[in-house]
Symmetry: C2
Subunit: 438 residues, 2 copies
């Protein structure tokens, strides 16, 4: 049993089903439609976003079936009419979805998930897909900035305790896609193949009669290559004890408190003076992209990041939305572009096809969003951002599971390498690529 | 199949299991211990916090079993030694937990969840329990401020799409405990008995050939008492159409954009002039406790809140920690209080018992945390905050499920009623009760 649950069908806002109910009665439920997911804007000051969640979502769409228990709940609570219950009992997504590869970078207005389906089939996926993309991408977008700030030093995600217990698994996966090396979360190891890490907390030291007893117990079980936590009482004494117990082959020491730039320097000097020149230093004290950057000149070997990465470093939800942009007319004839005009929330109607425009050196210069007819591919020499995700109801398996997660991580690295240098400055700025509707 | 999954055992940081591994080898794993969960501080400016998560957590602790699949993962990945695998195969929490009732208010330093168990049994629950409390309480704490700001008008939680798909269910439950009336999330309805609501989105209007067709389709399916969304194109025209289609018995109109104080006033006047004086107005445009408060003088009938409630309104994780505070000595003799001294993160050792002190009128004046011996109850006439949650491994069932959720909601109302008035001002301030170690 992995963390995947049996049915995802009620992870849904009630209004998706009442809309279905009304459309069924009106006979408009099977109008062919195009829905697009995109973000209206990046969080203030952010230069790019990292899309994560696709692999998880495609699995959840496969599990999006209304079984007896779900149907009974809807019947008991009179959420929809009996006719609609019958329709839901047979529901299985039969449409086609194209979108960005997972790990792709996203910019305002550019659709990363394009659903071609009858209204009824497309509309009821809205809540679930936004839940997945909004959270996973918030984590991946923050994590990518931390990876850039760490300048090649490895980062571990350790924020499970600061996120809902299931979010924690998704967060570990999203951070890995964004370039983190490992996670503390065991379920993320099992379900998504993310490497796991971790050795001991302060409680372990406090349990024992002395810090030396605790270190000895840990080294006996985990070997001298383990990481000893050295800030329970007095860091200097702890390091002396640590090297005494584990020898100079001690793997690493972990610092979870204090004035890190100063402390790290002292610890490095002390370790070197004790002959433990290869013992690494890992720091884990409430880090974010800014404190990581501030440690660039310090002899830190790796970082552990908790709260800030699992909560999107100030932006815990990406602003992604899912909009109906076109449908066929009632007689099944021509396509009609649609868009709401709501104050401050107007959108652009019509089927779209996004392309990343690159210059001669392969550096990205713009996000170009073409308005297209069904079946047409824009005449544009840039990198085509759309790949098939689901075709006529069949999920493309390469996006799923451990393999899909690893492919997303690799793709993120490729897409990041296309960005101009200014994308990686932590200072606030506009999206590093303009979105052009072509 | 509800949203509860089969095993929660890998929703855990790896270091919980490596500590267990080392303690087993050292023979220190069965030392009797006391662990306490508390928050070091409230988010800046907040006056109180609302504890949520207990009922969910107790179920997850019951499901915290290492079955073949979990053990195989640990073996394959050499997370712990074979002896430890055997110990985990038999694991079932056998200790005793006392704590706050769910829905209780919390203040810095006061323990709300006190675990009496052998080290091994208590330590491996850490990650899971912090995940649950940190997220659920972040939502409940934000939600309670919104409830106060709404001054008796009902609030619906509609943020599922802005939270991880499973967080969304927990968020709906936490907001309900904090006083929200309903949620859009169907799984929260099924699993936790939270009333669900919702009618239609802009896509439904855009699907149809005219707004009038859309309104008619909705009224045909859901009746004239439904809520019509009136801001897809032009609000004034939409309201005219809405009343024409549904008649003056139209249940409500929903506004999801625009300058709400001004717009709500116009809409009320228009509805009244059309004879729809009983038609309610619900607003849902990116609300938080501050924008809700700003609508106090407007003729709004109810609020729908999304992003801000499910992300804790700027504070998506409560700062809760779980600390070893005492253990018996190696020979099973006396109790030893323990606390780390880490820079900026020092804690207070010893078993604690929190009491809410009330004045003669029943208004809370202080959180008093007594340091006590095992089995002792403090001599204090205040309200005892501790109730049994698990006794010798047996969960007290009244905290679970739909009933537990409703009890938590009721208890939250009682606890809030004890607070002094200044607790409910939205301006920033210190915790409204001081924590006194007695």
């Amino acid at each position: 049993m992995t963390e995947r649950a049996a049915s995802s069908a009620l992870l849904t806002d009630r209004y998706e089903l009442t809309m279905l109910d009304a459309a069924l009665l009106a006979g408009t439920h099977d109008r062919e439609c195009v829905f697009e997911a995109f973000t209206r804007r990046l969080p203030a000051g952010r230069r790019y976003g990292v899309l994560a969640g696709t692999g998880r979502l495609l699995e959840l769409i496969e599990q999006f079936r209304f079984q007896d228990a779900e149907l009974q709940f809807l019947r008991d609570n009179r959420v929809v009419r009996d006719e609609t219950i019958d329709w839901l009992a047979d529901y299985r997504f039969s449409g086609t979805i194209r979108g960005y590869r997972e790990g792709e970078l996203f910019f305002p207005g550019s659709p990363f998930f394009i659903v071609d389906a009858p209204f009824a089939e497309g509309v009821i996926l809205e809540t679930l897909l936004l839940s997945v993309f909004n959270y996973d991408s918030a984590v991946a977008s923050a994590a990518a900035r931390m990876v850039a700030a760490a300048g090649g030093r490895p980062l571990a995600e350790m924020g499970s305790r600061r996120a809902n217990e299931r979010s924690a698994v998704a967060a570990a996966r999203a951070a890995f896609i964004a370039g983190f090396s490992a996670t503390s979360n065991l379920e993320a190891g099992r379900t998504w193949g993310v490497p796991t890490m971790g050795t001991a907390a302060h409680a372990f030291t406090l349990l024992h009669d002395s810090e030396e007893d605790a270190f000895r117990a840990q080294v006996n079980a985990l070997g001298p290559g383990t990481t000893l936590l050295v800030d329970t009482f007095d860091v200097e004494k702890a390091i002396e004890t640590a090297v005494k117990v584990a020898g100079p082959e001690l793997g690493a020491v972990r610092l979870d408190s204090g004035d890190l730039p100063k402390l790290v320097k002292q610890v490095r000097e002390q370790l070197d003076s004790l002959g433990a020149a290869k013992t690494r230093i890992t720091v884990t004290n409430d880090l974010d992209e800014f404190t990581i950057a501030a440690l660039a000149a310090s002899p830190v070997d790796s970082y552990g990041v908790g709260t800030s990465v699992v909560t999107g470093s100030g932006h815990p939800a990406s602003g992604m939305v899912y909009k109906l942009v076109a449908h066929r007319s009632g007689d099944g004839g021509e396509w009609i572009s649609v868009a709401k005009k709501s104050d401050g929330k107007a959108s652009i109607g019509g089927r779209k096809h996004p392309i990343r425009r690159l210059d001669a050196r392969g550096t990205a210069v713009a996000e170009v969003v073409h308005i297209v007819e069904k079946g047409d591919t824009p005449d544009d020499s840039g990198r085509d951002l759309l790949v098939p995700l689901i075709t006529d109801g069949e999920v493309h398996r390469e996006h799923l599971g451990v393999e899909g997660t690893r492919r997303a991580r690799d793709h993120r690295a490729l897409a990041m390498a296309e960005l101009p240098d200014e994308a990686f400055r932590l200072g606030r700025g506009d999206p590093v690529l303009p979105t052009i509707f072509g």
